[in-house]
Symmetry: C2
Subunit: 225 residues, 2 copies
DNA sequence: ATTCGCATTGAACAAGTGTTTAGCGTATGA
DNA sequence: TCATACGCTAAACACTTGTTCAATGCGAAT
């Protein structure tokens, strides 16, 4: 997908170097000088091409996230998610930089991160709608909230990949990277929960329902002195 | 729990100011000068008390995380989780700074963040064991992995709280804060999934099982040229 | 009362930061 | 052929960063 060699514009080379470094170090720790040296150019040239460090970041945001989000929205047919994951499992190295960058964008508050998260939620929502029609997904009252929960659970792997790897003893090729083996090990437990549930009976669900209703009632009273 | 006024040691006041700022801005963006001014002291005094910025961070780590992790491990009887959440719902403002700090620690790579994550996993594991014995939680083959998944899903709320609030339109009192209303809105969807599942039949689970076995077989071959 | 120790400050330092500027070379179009 | 524009660099600038240091004040111990 990405041209590996230096057949790129200098501008593009700088941008790619920045994407890598921003993902690895975070926006504030990554310096213009480091980006420049990584791209094999002078610091001045970075500014010349992007106006400022913030401008460079915007260019990176647009290149990684806008693209990824659009991509995800286009292939929003539910079957493609499996294909997408399969694609990642087959050649994960190609996506590591993008993934690291997205992780940083979701953590930092940035418009690009917001857009990406919203795109994921929208995709989940579409999948749920289609799944309910097809009868493969249970009917939910509040589809929107369920979509957000599913998105949150899914992106957790991205945000906490480092800890998941560490905790399960799955070696990660690089810090914060998500090894294919990690995904493989997490798939079945997650799908078991998603299929048969985690609790064995509706006790907790009912208890929570009651507690929430009671809490709502209390809330009404709390606002009076 | 925390003394609100200035009846604290100067050292403690600096540390608390740092915890707040580190949580809000992140470790690298928060400057020694900003911490000092927030605590109403000179920058030199910060260094005098903690040796260096890294030393200050270590002190904060120890105060917030080590404490929290230990606390969690001690009250590891499964019922206490509900009480802990209830406690948070009743007075959330008291914990916002700690939560922000923990979020930063989990995102940044730090020993303190590692310890916290491990503590959460361990607590999940204990809960699952106890729950299985009591018959409230389904029997799982790979309890360890399930614990990691549950921990990951739970901490996702912490890591992505900002996006969850935004996406659901629940106003958050401060950026990256987790409003009680948000938790309330997420509880039922999550518990529904955890109780009745997300998929309506084991189709996806079985498909994944087959795909993984096939993939494993392929993996064996892939290592040969 | 004097000395000691410690909390505390203000100013300074050295390194690193993003950014500016002047100038170099080279290709392109007139 | 010349001029123009542009990619690009080296050096410098202004500022922020973490940290140091000498000096001050103050409370407690002798």
């Amino acid at each position: 997908m990405r041209s590996t060699a230096d057949d790129l514009t200098t501008r593009a080379r700088i941008r790619d170097a920045a994407i890598g470094l921003f993902g690895r170090e975070g926006f504030s720790r990554a310096t213009v000088r480091a980006v420049a040296s990584l791209a094999g150019v002078s610091p001045g040239l970075v500014i010349h091409h992007f106006g400022s460090k913030a401008g460079l970041r915007e260019a990176c945001d647009q290149h990684v996230l806008a693209q990824t989000a659009t991509q995800g929205r286009e292939k929003a047919d539910p079957g493609s998610t499996g294909r997408l994951i399969q694609d990642y499992l087959n050649n994960p190295d190609q996506y590591t930089e993008e993934i690291a960058y997205i992780r940083r964008s979701l953590g930092d508050e940035s418009d690009a991160g917001d857009a990406f998260f919203d795109a994921v939620v929208k995709q989940c929502q579409d999948i749920i709608h289609t799944g309910i029609e097809a009868g493969t997904i249970r009917k939910f009252d509040d589809i929107r909230s369920v979509a957000v929960v599913i998105a949150s659970n899914s992106l957790a792997v991205l945000m906490l990949g480092r800890h998941l790897s560490r905790s399960l003893g799955v070696p990660a090729p690089e810090p914060n990277g998500i090894a294919p083996d990690l995904l493989r090990q997490l798939t079945l437990p997650l799908l078991e929960i998603y299929t048969h549930g985690f609790y064995s009976d509706p006790r907790f669900l009912n208890a929570a329902r009651e507690a929430l209703e009671e809490n709502n009632a209390n809330n009404g009273r709390e606002h009076a002195p």
